[in-house]
């Protein structure tokens, strides 16, 4: 038995595989929250992305190198459109962000628009035609331990790494990132130095939402890979929790996502090894852990102010200045 059949290696590799959609979704939510807008519509936007990507992959003929990027773009547009409803309601009309986000999830989610469209388009009866398979990067997949974990993933995983690095650089090393953080911390101050609060918020809510679309595409093109009603199975909500316990930082959020990937794949992996354990109870672990971590974080966070944008959840009304 090779070292790469080791239980640890398998769990780590599948942690990254199953954690990938969480990386995209929480990174997008992080951008929106950094601008001061909480979007509880992640689950709904993910499903919109998943259905759009499944449609492109099923109905567009062509080589994978054309169809798959097109599917990702379609997923981003679909989810971005969903996010723009939330942006309009919360930024322009200053509606309560919590209720608007929930409305988006109900509208687009498992019993909503995504399954409506899938029904009309008759998706889900066959696997999608083109999907993201694991690739062998530079022939390194056979390297002991790190090979299967780091060099034998799908292109979407590598894309997520690029985006995490880009987002970290953007947030902490560029002028626009500084402006974004200012808008999230103190919109009045940002406004007074000429930064357009609503423009920043619109852009990051919609752009962040489009990341949730990629997360959905991860399900319909990589993990499942076909359309199933409500296939994201609550991962959109996990993404919201990940932003909090990644302290609104892309790198920590990525680690959190992989931790969850590991927990949610643990049951399947153990069962495949013949180790008997209740899959139902094991699948509750990530949720219980979110609560535990959240309690720990919120206790210290309230004292040390670990990164939560001060204006998160509050509409900005210029007239009140």
């Amino acid at each position: 038995m090779s070292i790469n059949d080791n239980l640890f290696v398998i769990i780590m590799a599948s942690a990254i595989f199953y954690g990938t959609p969480l990386v995209f979704a929480s990174l997008g939510e992080l951008l929106a929250e950094r601008s001061g807008v909480l979007n509880l519509g992640v689950e709904g936007m993910m499903l919109l992305g998943a259905v759009a990507a499944a449609w492109v992959s099923t109905n567009v003929d062509g080589p994978a190198i054309v169809v798959l990027p097109l599917a990702i773009v379609a997923a981003m547009i679909a989810a971005g459109l969903g996010a723009s409803i939330h942006a309009f309601l919360t930024i322009t009309l200053r509606v309560n962000q919590i209720i608007s986000g929930l409305a988006l999830t109900i509208f687009a989610g498992a019993a909503g628009l995504s399954s409506y469209l899938a029904g009309i388009w008759q998706l889900g009866q066959t696997p999608v035609k083109q999907q993201f398979g694991k690739i062998d990067v530079l022939g390194l997949s056979g390297v002991p331990v790190v090979g299967p974990i780091l060099f034998h993933q799908t292109l979407l995983t590598y894309l997520s790494w690029v985006l995490v690095i880009a987002a970290s650089f953007y947030l902490f090393r560029t002028r626009a990132g500084l402006h974004l953080r200012a808008v999230g911390e103190s919109p009045q101050t940002a406004d007074s130095v000429g930064i357009s609060v609503s423009r920043y918020r619109y852009f990051h809510v919609i752009f962040g939402g489009s990341f949730a679309g990629i997360a959905g595409a991860c399900f319909s093109l990589m993990i499942v890979p076909t359309w199933v009603d409500g296939m994201t199975a609550g991962q959109g909500w996990i993404a919201l929790a990940l932003v909090i316990f990644g302290f609104w930082r892309p790198d920590l959020t990525l680690l959190g996502a992989y931790l969850f990937g590991a927990l949610s794949s643990l049951g399947l992996t153990l069962q495949a090894r013949g180790i008997h354990i209740s899959t139902a109870l094991l699948s509750a672990l990530p949720y219980v852990m979110t609560i535990v971590v959240l309690v720990i974080v919120s206790n210290t966070a309230s004292r040390k102010q670990l990164g939560a944008p001060a204006a998160l959840g509050k509409p900005y009304e210029r007239e009140e200045r």
């Binding site: 509880l40 409803i85 309601l89 322009t92 009309l93 200053r94 509606v95 309560n96 919590i98 209720i99 608007s100 929930l102 409305a103 988006l104 999830t105 109900i106 509208f107 687009a108 989610g109 498992a110 019993a111 909503g112 628009l113 995504s114 399954s115 409506y116 469209l117 899938a118 029904g119 009309i120 357009s196 609503s198 423009r199 009603d229 609550g234 909500w237 919201l240 929790a241 909090i244 209740s278 899959t279 139902a280 109870l281 699948s283 509750a284 949720y287 219980v288 979110t290 609560i291 959240l294 309690v295 919120s298 206790n299 309230s302």
Partner: protein, 375 residues
């Protein structure tokens, strides 16, 4: 001055007709947008709406089915309305509903066939409330004690509750699971003894499930509680101005915990009612698919957190849900119920803003403004 060419100005006074016109107008707007969606995807909107109306309210026995669908929405709607009123965003109605169903069905099975019906039904109400209440207490205590965000914790508990229900029926030989007959082959729950099935009140042409009547009574009680009692007054102060509440010597943390438990208990009774009136068995998959907890938030928001209005909104949305069940099939688009609920909520949220504010064209400079006024 807004970049989008208009701005929102608070209205100086609200016309009397406005509070009524907004929900009605929003509802019609949602139907219109829904019709556009249907039309754009090649469906005949008029025929779809006609069938929904028929199967929700008009056809033989339809209204009874609507009330059955409305009952869980009524309870989860009250659950959200009470909690949101004090700014405690409990979106765990889903999980509290499931825990109520587990506790409620558990006591009915425990009491068995020998218990008088009235005892069984009363015990189900109490145990449902306890199950949901305990589940609601968790985010409440975490919020009050550690300031943990209740949105995420209550949400996570939804999944944990769903997992527990699944575990009881599919993954263990629990007390709830039927282990004889076909249940030995296909996992399913024990059917409740018929004595514990909740009664239906027959009013001639329509039959009203007992759960719905109970929900109406509780809604009225909540209305009185919020408007006429000291506790209700404290709720309103904590919800509106937490700092004031603290200065006035109230204990916001204690009120948060109490309301969290109350809110959970309401959803829990809903779970017991759903089993007592309708399912008669603990059915994890059915509970999960129906998503009553989330829909309850829609109900509460549409009812503007008013417990009495929750009753009417629950009947309206229950009608759409009931028609969705009845019409489910190849020629009825799946997912339409969620689309319509979402649209109604979007339009109401937008509509309320239009009611509270006036939209005015943004004007570039004060000089122009005065020029316009004099014109």
């Amino acid at each position: 001055m807004s970049r989008f060419g208009f701005r929102l100005e608070p209205r100086s006074y609200l016309p009397k007709w406005l509070p009524w016109a907004v929900p009605v107008g929003s509802f019609l707007a949602a139907l219109l947008v829904g019709a556009i969606v249907l039309f754009a995807t090649g469906q005949n909107a008029l025929s779809v709406y006609g069938r929904i109306l028929d199967r929700a309210f008009l056809s033989e026995g339809a209204f009874t089915g609507t009330l059955i669908s409305a009952t869980p929405l009524l309870f989860t709607g009250l659950c959200a309305a009470v909690a949101f009123r004090i700014g405690f965003f409990n979106i765990g109605g889903e999980g509290q509903f499931v825990m109520g169903a587990i506790f409620g069905s558990g006591i009915a099975l425990k009491l068995g066939v020998d218990a008088p019906g009235i005892v069984s039904v009363a015990a189900m109400v109490v145990f449902g409330a306890v199950g949901g209440g305990l589940w609601g207490l968790i985010p409440g205590i975490l919020k009050a004690r550690f300031r943990t965000n209740e949105i995420i914790t209550s949400l996570m508990l939804n999944y944990v509750a769903a997992v527990i229900a699944t575990y009881l029926i599919f993954d263990s030989n629990s007390f709830w699971r039927e282990l004889t007959g076909s249940g030995a082959v296909f996992p399913k729950g024990k059917i409740l003894p018929t004595g514990s099935w909740w009664p239906n009140l027959d009013f001639g042409s329509i039959v009203v499930p007992f759960g719905f009547v109970l929900g109406m009574v509780i809604a009225a009680w909540l209305y009185v509680l919020q408007r006429k009692t000291r506790f209700g007054f404290e709720m309103r102060v904590v919800g509106g101005a937490p700092t004031t509440a603290r200065y006035a010597g109230m204990k916001p943390a204690r009120i948060v915990v109490a309301v969290a438990a109350l809110s959970g208990a309401l959803a829990g009774i809903g779970g017991a009612a759903d089993i007592g009136n309708f399912r008669h068995v603990l059915d994890p998959k059915g509970l999960q698919q129906s998503g009553f907890g989330y829909a309850g938030i829609v109900v509460a928001a549409l009812a503007r957190l008013n417990p009495v209005a929750v009753v009417f909104v629950a009947v309206l949305l229950g009608g759409i849900t009931n028609a969705g069940y009845a019409l489910r099939g190849p020629d009825f688009p799946s997912g339409l119920v969620g689309v319509l609920q979402g649209l109604i909520l979007f339009c109401t949220l937008g509509g309320e803003v239009l009611a509270r504010y006036r939209i005015t064209r943004s004007v570039r400079t004060p000089m122009n403004a005065s020029a316009l006024e004099s014109a």
